[in-house]
Symmetry: C2
Subunit: 368 residues, 2 copies
């Protein structure tokens, strides 16, 4: 039996049936006015969601693809990579995989990065970019991007070096208010299947002017993720390669939905869901040794990771919930059994989340 409102992975996020249905639009050519209009409208709706007046490019890829685009187009020689979980580690791997160097500023899973430490490291010199994950989906930690970007600018003034700020916003964009322009972010990216609550297969990224200027000086950008190619085609509301058209129809329908809800209301709803999770963990989950992994003040409004005591296994709890029709995630990768992760982004209501928490409580009581 399938019922919307019981699927709480921290990505992919449950997609509403009407958005899935939008994918059934009959085939159209991708060099048509109809598709250009679709891309143009999407760009217009995406800019405020990204907190920018810049174009937002659409890529047929996962978020990792846009991550690679940011590295190939922005990192000249050496980046400072901020690592605090699986997805920020992927950013580091990509910097290395694209033949660049990096210094890693790593903090343990469940912690955020300190702007002061970022500045201290950058002041040593020799960096031309910084990579950071906004909302680390493997831990539910929210990094202070505004403060980190300010630290970068301070280091830029001190060293005279241009340091581009590359931000993975995979579980933040569309889930909370982000301010690309105001914060001074040079690249912000996300994938379709997280807070935008779309099927996977599209990624989005917005580059700064100075990033595009840097890109023009970098060789070997390739074609598929060449942001200068994107910029050129974007002016005519075209894509560099054939886009995933049926997913663009889903995007169009969902962006209209988000505009109607307003991004402010969407962000408030996600925060209310997050607060429900946190207060449940404090008031009820504590009884079974559960605690919110992220420290107060550094908690993502879209993902909560609940650390488990050794005697409770994430895989066992998740399997029990699955039997009751509910889906949530265990810890990520090697941390599988040490945590549970709940995605509270997309189109679920606070009530739907609270029903999940009640069910979780019942399962915890059972396996006691």
């Amino acid at each position: 039996m399938y019922e919307f409102g019981r699927f709480f992975l921290p990505g992919p996020t449950e997609v509403r049936p009407e958005i899935l249905a939008a994918q059934t639009h009959p085939t159209i050519g991708h060099r048509t006015p109809e598709l250009a209009a679709l891309l143009s409208e999407a760009d217009r709706h995406l800019r405020p969601i990204f907190g920018t007046t810049r174009p937002v490019f659409i890529s047929t890829s996962s978020g990792t693809g846009m991550m690679e685009a940011s590295v190939r187009n922005a990192v000249r020689r050496r980046a400072l990579c901020l690592v605090n979980g699986a997805f920020s580690a992927r950013y580091r791997d990509l910097v290395l995989g694209c033949g660049r160097e990096c210094e890693v500023y790593e903090v343990p899973l469940g912690e955020a990065h300190e702007p002061e430490e970022v500045e201290r490291r950058l002041r040593a010199g020799g960096f031309d970019a910084l990579t950071v994950v906004h909302s680390e989906t493997s831990s539910g930690v929210l990094n202070p991007i505004a403060e980190i970007a300010a630290a970068v600018r301070s280091a830029e003034r001190a060293t005279g070096e241009e340091i581009l700020v590359l931000v993975d916003g995979v579980s933040s964009v569309g889930g909370m208010l982000v301010e690309t322009d105001e914060w001074g972010v040079d690249f912000l990216l996300t994938g379709s299947q997280k807070a935008l609550a779309l099927p996977p297969g599209l990624a989005f990224g917005t580059p700064s002017e100075r990033l595009l200027e840097r890109a023009a000086t970098l060789a070997g950008r390739g074609l598929y993720f060449d942001l200068l190619e994107y910029a050129q085609h974007w002016e005519e509301h075209q894509t560099t390669a054939t886009p995933a058209v049926t997913l663009l129809y889903a995007l169009s329908a969902q962006l209209r939905h988000i505009v109607a809800e307003t991004m402010e209301a969407r962000a408030a709803r996600h925060l209310a869901m997050a607060e429900s999770c946190w207060s449940w963990a404090e008031a009820r989950g504590r009884r079974w040794g559960l605690r919110v992994m992220a420290p107060e003040g550094r908690r993502s409004p879209t993902v909560t990771a609940l650390a488990l005591p050794p005697e409770r296994k994430g895989s066992v709890v998740a399997a029990r919930l699955k039997e009751r029709g509910y889906t949530l995630a265990t810890g990520y990768g090697a941390h599988r059994d040490q945590a549970l992760r709940i995605g509270h982004m997309g189109d679920h209501t606070v009530l739907e989340l609270e029903l999940l928490l009640a069910e979780l409580e019942s399962v915890l009581g059972e396996v006691e």
Copy 2:
């Protein structure tokens, strides 16, 4: 009014309603046994379509993405790029865009490459790869891949150099019988929206063992198109990054359909449609100065480009057909008004194609 059977672009190919509907499957996680089963079944069905016993990797990208994968993983320093139209030119651009060198063996639009000339050029030495498009969608020319690959092997023996054969099969794979293993092709790729008649957004590629060995020695492969990452994840029926899951459901449904039809019958149907086009052009189209652009013996079974005399404009004819509910393509890019292109691949019947040709004839009579 929408009716299946009137859309004849040479990609995207018209997708059957039941395949579009397969995309509405409810959200599932992409690290689940359900998705692994989907990927495993797809691989099993794709191998015979590719004429190989090797794994066929699935990428969330357009065919251009897999083209870039082949360059980043296979071209060490310098390739011989065979150019005879827009898509083979893209392969050349990609070689250069990824920071490799190339020599271009170009023949005019509408012509095929000669294996003898390929061998002569390669014997000069200094090449480690060759790029070629099997069915050039901009002209309807079919390159003799078996003979070209044999020429490469002969040059390999003469020079002692390893030269990888990289083939864009974008409008051939799934449309005709291809023999990756037998021909000695090191990489064969296609996109979902051509002869496989799926929505765009997926690409497929199968690398040889020696290509993967070469890849292991090449730096800067990145992550998104790193074929070694693909190979490693493929063993567990996983993908390196989040795949376009709803498109995978469409793929699954369409592959079952192709298996049921059999690839042999599918290829025969496409060839029958092509022969209908060619004999129509000879018997009827000649009256208005139309001729099949590709020379006999070098005609693609999936795309026919009809060259137009100067007094007839491709855009005008296509627009008239559009008014009657039929979609075909003009010439590609700068050749827009000098040709019409008909895609006869995917799931259309010979009868549907003949109705298009009757309509085309009526339009040509009108604008006389």
